[in-house]
């Protein structure tokens, strides 16, 4: 997302785990391909289903989950406003998805130390989209279809086809945190993340 002219185009699902491992905190990416939406309720339901021996409703290997609860589309639109939701609400579930081979997640805000640790050394990237830029981000979503948990409404799992969806890598496989790196030079007082 930094200087869009420097943004790299990347296909998702990621083409290989090496592509994910090569991502670095601070990289600006334009994602194109397919990703899946899920927020806390959907994460919880997926993991409960697994415990009962059911299959996940989405593929996870090298895939990307977008933490979003969109507004309903107007007639003729694929989706309405669709910016990221705060990622820490998914912290209790994310390590298990990383274990299963998930390639990345998109949200906004800090991740818990346990999640950052779970990412270290794995082929997984936590990426942020601009929080609150829902109208603009919705435009990068070309198709949206509910594929599971329809009763959850805005929190249902959707399959999204996206084009040039702008994100910035926050937490990478080396354990770096871009929020820390980016804020540090501007900090004049105590406080911080």
């Amino acid at each position: 997302m930094s200087q869009t002219e420097h943004a790299r185009s990347i296909r998702i699902p990621f083409e290989s785990s090496q592509v994910i491992r090569d991502l670095r905190a601070g990289d600006a990416l334009l994602l194109s391909g397919v990703m899946y939406t899920a927020r806390d309720a959907a994460h919880q339901r997926m993991l409960q289903g697994l415990e009962r021996g059911e299959e996940l409703p989405i593929p996870v290997e090298r895939e990307v989950i977008y933490y979003v609860g969109p507004t309903p589309p107007r007639p003729g639109q694929a989706i309405g406003s669709a910016g990221p939701t705060t990622a820490y609400r998914m912290d209790p579930y994310t390590p298990q998805f990383i274990e299963m081979g998930l390639g990345g997640a998109i949200g906004k805000g800090y991740r818990a130390a346990e999640v950052r640790e779970a990412i270290r050394g794995r082929a997984f990237a936590y990426m942020a989209a601009i929080g609150g830029a829902g109208a603009l981000l919705g435009r990068c979503i070309k198709e949206a279809s509910v594929i599971a948990y329809e009763d959850l409404g805005t929190e249902a799992i959707r399959r999204l086809v996206i084009e040039d969806f702008p994100v910035i890598v926050i937490n990478d496989t080396l354990g770096s945190d871009f929020y820390e790196v980016a804020q540090e030079p501007w900090r004049r007082t105590g406080g911080g993340g």
Partner: protein
């Protein structure tokens, strides 16, 4: 006694929901434009550019500015010589929210109960604050309050000995702790004094004040200026990507308090600052 019909109330609320959903107020847009000029961090500037583009796009296309269309928070100032006819005032406000959110293709985020977590489907009920005032008018102010920023809000019952330094420390820590979770640039509403509950009410009331308008008490206005500088020294910056514009404004509302107390509340408002008001 002047009469106001519930239908007029419901339609005013509905229109305000729809217009606030897609368009920031002018004071907020100007504040973001100023932030774009002031910000020194290239990444922070870029983030603000995107927010300004998003604002233009939302208004032009009618797609909500943010997907979290928020809790409808209504401040109703009811003139004591104003008579509401045709039904109940609270029901009229809720009817307005129901219609406005449906007509504006806005997201319903309210749940029946915090524990069973079933969505009511129409974003009702609103959170309504009533105030009875002299006169025969009904003033309605509304804000669509997003969850991400609301969740980063905090309250503290400080010790009187903590003094103004304690207040400053608490506000700055709350802003730094909110960081990118709350979608900066922020407008932290600050409630100072009163009781535990009153302080949080004051903080909410503070975010309703237009950006650029200081507290009428010069000493409090000074504190507002100082807090803005301090909050912007945290380095959080736009979207937490680093920079000197973490907050756009730091409005404070004050109320007398008990001799043992120094309550302070910070209600974090994100850049999706979506306010409207009408006088009926």
């Amino acid at each position: 006694m002047r009469e106001v019909h519930v239908d007029a109330i419901a339609s005013a609320i509905s229109e305000m929901c729809q217009s606030a959903g897609v368009a920031l107020t002018d004071d907020m847009l100007q504040a973001l434009e100023k932030a774009y000029r002031d910000e020194q961090s290239p990444l922070g500037r870029h983030a603000i550019r995107i927010l300004l583009d998003n604002a233009r796009l939302a208004t032009a296309t009618g797609v909500p500015y943010c997907q979290d269309c928020g809790v409808a928070i209504v401040f109703a100032r009811v003139g004591q010589d104003c008579h509401v006819v045709g039904g109940a005032l609270s029901e009229a406000i809720n009817e307005g929210v129901r219609c406005g959110f449906a007509a504006g293709y806005m997201r319903a985020s309210m749940l029946q109960s915090p524990l069973d977590r079933r969505n009511t489907g129409d974003n009702t009920p609103a959170v309504i604050h009533y105030d009875v005032v002299p006169g025969d008018r009904l003033e309605l102010a509304i804000t669509l309050k997003g969850g991400g920023s609301e969740n980063m809000s905090r309250q503290a019952m400080l010790k009187p000995a903590d003094g103004v330094e304690g207040v400053k420390r608490f506000v700055v820590e709350t802003v730094a702790n909110a960081g990118p979770n709350a979608c900066p640039p922020l407008v932290p509403g600050i409630g100072l004094g009163g009781t535990f509950d009153k302080s949080t009410y004051l903080a909410k009331k503070a975010i309703m004040r237009p950006i650029g308008e200081f507290n009428p008490d010069p000493a409090i206005a000074e504190l507002e200026k100082e807090l803005l500088v301090l909050c912007n020294e945290t380095g959080v910056g736009p979207q937490g990507l680093g920079g000197i514009v973490t907050c756009l404004w730091t409005p404070i509302e004050v109320y007398p308090c008990h001799v043992t107390a120094l309550p302070v509340a910070v209600n974090i408002q994100c850049h999706a600052n979506r306010r409207r008001e009408v006088i009926l």
